[in-house]
Every structure is written in C-alpha cells, then in structure tokens.
C-alpha cells in the first residue's frame, strides 16, 4: 500500500521534474562541462582544454569591464530599489489624497514590458530635445549626451533599473504591510512611541521575511535583466554599459564562441550563488517566518 502511494507520488512529480531537468538542471551541468572544452568548429569536435577557458577570461578586458560594471550596477541598484520600494509602500499604506492614483503610478513598471519602456527612456536621454535635456537646458545646465558618454551611460541604465525594480518590489512590501495587525500600531501610539521608533522596533523586524525575499530577487534581477541594455546601448559606449549576461549573449550569439559563453555563464552563476548565500547568512537568521 505504501509502495503504491510512493509510485503514484513519483508519477505525479515526474512531468515537472522532466521539464525542469531538461531545461534548467541538465543545461546548468552541461554548461559547467562545456566550460572545460573548446568551441567546436565545423567538423572539428570540441577538445578538453582544462581550465584554459577560465584563464582566458582573465585576459579578456571586456569580461573584466562587464564584471566591474555589473558589480557597480548591483551595488547601486539593489539598495536603491529596495529602499525606495519600502518608502513607496509605506507612503501609500496610509491615508493619502489620491492614494489609488499614486498606487497605480507606482505599478506602471510591472505592467509595461521593459523593452517597450526602454524605447521611451531612450527618448528621455536623447541629447538636446530629449525630456531630460529640455529640463536641463531650461534651467541653464547645458546639453548632455547621457547614453553617449561612458561616465553617464551606466548611471542612466541604473536609473531605468531602479525605476523598474522599485515599482515591482513595492507590491511585496505593501502586501506585507497590509497583513500587519492594526492593533499593534494602536498600542504603539498609546505607548507614545515615535513613528521612527515604532518602525525600527516593530515594522522593520516584522518585514524581515519580505526584505529577505525582495533582496534575493533584487540580486537575481541585477544579473538577469539586460533587456534595456540590448535596446538602449548595446553595451556601449566603449563597453561602459556592458553587463555579464549581455556579454554572454554577445559571445554566444554574435561571436558564436560557445565555450567562452559557457565559461562566462558558470562565473555568473557562481557570483549569484555566493551573493545569495551571503544574503541568507546575514539576514536569514533575522527573518522569523510565521
């Protein structure tokens, strides 16, 4: 009887496991294997090259630049979008004139495809007659080639990412805030706790599981979302906005160097794994799940 139940359970998870295995787990293992082989060309098969692909990476200036760009990109966009999303959620979780409208406004990034929005941001950043330059010129600050200058191109991409991410994460914080017991705030007010004290001692600890979830997602997205790079800058100018996944895309599908692309993918997955591990190690113990 127990045996039958077990067989039935395996049958029920089999289709899902097969699909996940075929397109996520096996390709991940396959990518690791590929990273130790050369790229096959025509009828020349792939040969084992040891760790050469990895040492080659260290000599690849574009990889190093994409790595540094991506780390800066994460370092800025993750805290900024998480912080802003919390602020946004707190601001619309209380009485406010026009609250429904503000909420809808915050929600736009989740509804519009990033690639569609990228077209609009492209216009905002256009020199001279783009929206940003029109404002800048009106205040006498002169013109800027926001996406054409290496110094401003990456910050411009960060702005798009923060806009996108903060709007998305806001929803999760808002959801968590709405499940918070109202009588808790009542007690806090009776005890005469200041809003900051109440936030620090009650709201913030209760939000920990949400914060953990949001930060892990922010880390993943900082490496996964490059749609706007494809549309707005193609990694330029001079690789100033090249991010790791975009570099993988170019290596794999413009230069058709699958061994190098596999090696890059392994490095990307390793970085993400380490970062996620760090997040759990630092915040995981503080998050009390109910």
């Amino acid at each position: 009887m127990i045996k039958r139940q077990t067989l039935l359970a395996y049958a029920m998870i089999a289709p899902a496991l097969l699909l996940l295995g075929a397109f996520t787990h096996w390709p991940a293992v396959g990518t690791l294997i590929d990273s130790f082989y050369s790229t096959p060309h025509g009828n020349r098969a792939a040969v084992s090259v040891g760790v050469d692909n990895y040492t080659d990476l260290l000599d690849d200036p574009v990889f190093l630049q994409a790595l540094i760009n991506n780390l800066w990109y994460g370092l800025v966009t993750i805290p900024a979008s998480v912080g802003l999303s919390l602020l946004m959620a707190l601001s619309v979780n209380r009485a406010l004139p026009g609250r429904v409208l503000v909420r809808m406004a915050y929600f736009t990034p989740t509804i519009l495809p990033l690639i569609a929005v990228a077209n609009i941001w492209l216009f905002f950043f256009t020199p001279d007659y783009g929206l940003l330059d029109q404002i800048s010129l009106a205040f006498g600050f002169g013109r800027h080639n926001w996406l054409g200058e290496p110094a401003t191109a990456l910050p411009a991409m960060m702005a798009v990412a923060i806009w996108k991410e903060a709007g998305f994460f806001m929803i999760f914080y808002l959801a968590a805030l709405q499940t918070m017991p109202a009588d808790l705030a009542e007690v806090g007010r009776l005890e005469g706790a200041s809003r900051w004290l109440y936030f620090r001692r009650v709201t913030w600890p209760l939000l920990m599981p949400t914060t953990l979830f949001v930060i892990v997602n922010a880390v993943i997205n900082a490496f996964r979302l490059v749609d706007h790079v494809v549309v707005m800058t193609r990694g330029g100018p001079d690789n100033a906005t090249n991010l790791l996944l975009y570099h993988i895309y170019e290596t794999g599908f413009r230069f058709w160097d699958s061994a190098a692309a596999a090696t890059l993918t392994v490095v990307l997955l390793a970085i993400m794994g380490i970062l996620a591990g760090l997040v759990f190690a630092v915040l995981g113990r503080k998050a009390h799940y109910r």
Partner: protein, 267 residues
Amino acid sequence: MSTRRLEILATWMLGILWVAPLAYAVWTAFHPSEFATHFSLTAPLTLENFVHAWDAAPFAHYFLNTTLMVTLILVVQFIVCTPAAFAFARMEFRGRETIFAIVLLQLMVAPDLLLVRNYRTMAQLGLVDTIGAIALPYLGSAFGIFLLRQNFRQIPQELDDAARLEGASLFGRLWRVYIPLAKPVYLAYGLVLVSYHWNNFLWPLVITNSVTTRPLTVGLAVFASTDQGIDWSIITAATLMTSGPLLVAFLLFQRQFIASFMRAGIR
C-alpha cells in the same frame, strides 16, 4: 508647511516620476509628431500614429505569436505543476525534501541565464525558430510548484479526509477539493505568469528569427531599431499597442490585479 504636507507632496512627486514614461508615451502617441518634443494644451489629437505603426510592421502576427506562446505556457504549467505541488504538499515518499530542494534551485538558476546551452538543445531537436521553442524552457516552474504547494498545505486536512470517506479518488479530491479552494492562487499565479511571459525578451530574441514566430517584444525591438529611425510618435504608438492588452486589463481589474500580485508575493 507641516511635515505631513511635505510627505504628501513627496509621495505625489514620486508618483509623477514613476508614471512619467507612460504619460509621455500616451501624449506622444496621440498627437502629431511635431508635438513629440514640445507640449501644448492646444495640440490636436490623432490616431494616425497607431495606423502608421500597425501598417509598418506585422503586429497582428506578433500578437498572435505572443498569445499562442503565453497560452501554451499557462496551460502546460497549470497541468504539470498542480500534481507535483500536491505530491510535495500531501504525499509521503522517499526523498521528498531533497527533490523539493532540487526543484527550488530553478528559482535562482533561471532558464534566462542558460541561453547558450538551451539554444543548442533546441537546435538538436530541430526546434529553432518555433513558438514551442520559446515556451519549452518555461513549461516547468519551481515558482508555480512552490506557490501551489504552500497553498495546498494550508487547506484543512479534514476536508480532504471527508472527500476520501465519500470514496473520492486522488484525482477526484484534487479536482473537487484542492483546486477550487486554491482558485485565488491560480488567478494570482496566472496573472504573474502572463505578465512575465508577455514581457519576456532575451530568450525569444535569441531563439526566433522570423515574422511567423517572433513575439511582440522582439517584434517591437526589431521595429524600433531598424524600421523607424527616430520617429518617436510612431515608436510610442507601437509601444502602447504592444503593452495595450496588459494595460487595459490592468485598468479594468486594477483592484484584483494588485491584490493577486500581493497574494503571489506572500510567502
């Protein structure tokens, strides 16, 4: 000015900032192109830009492709993830926790990151440039299994036992007890899934290369980068068109939409 007023003002400013790209797109798309870069209350309204955009690229075909792809993913994910989630939630079998942990790895190792290897698999299967190939890597979903499992576990065991006493089979219980009670979760899951795949870009860009397979996002990118130069009015019209169904759905079901996104987010 009091602190409270300052807060309200700041909240509104932030709201205006967040809606600005959409507001600009609406302005430009509904006005003649000479008003794309300057704003005037007397500017005449027009639908010309939409007509131009619609005629300039095979958007009807792109709409069809996106709809087929999203429907395929939605239907298969529901069918595949439901029994798996049930087994993880309510059945005892060896290796349950370990297998579940392995499944959850997909939350981090998203198929989006494995483009190169998955492209090779599609090439070996002879599926490059098909709608099926866009959908295949996403047919199994750790997110879906996790979400449904959490919910199935919260359904009272007594309801399940009662159905069992009445002689319901396992699939009968699933069909008549678990799925109906988890309906709000299916709605939330479905909405998240549709908006994710409607907006997905990089994998479809890699795996498709013709009009008959390209989804809207890729079609829009091709249209905006090659065909149009910099006619912002037509580009924004096309942008609104491609996100139109989601925008309209959002305006109509705003409350449910936010609520269900929230439900999907609670862990």
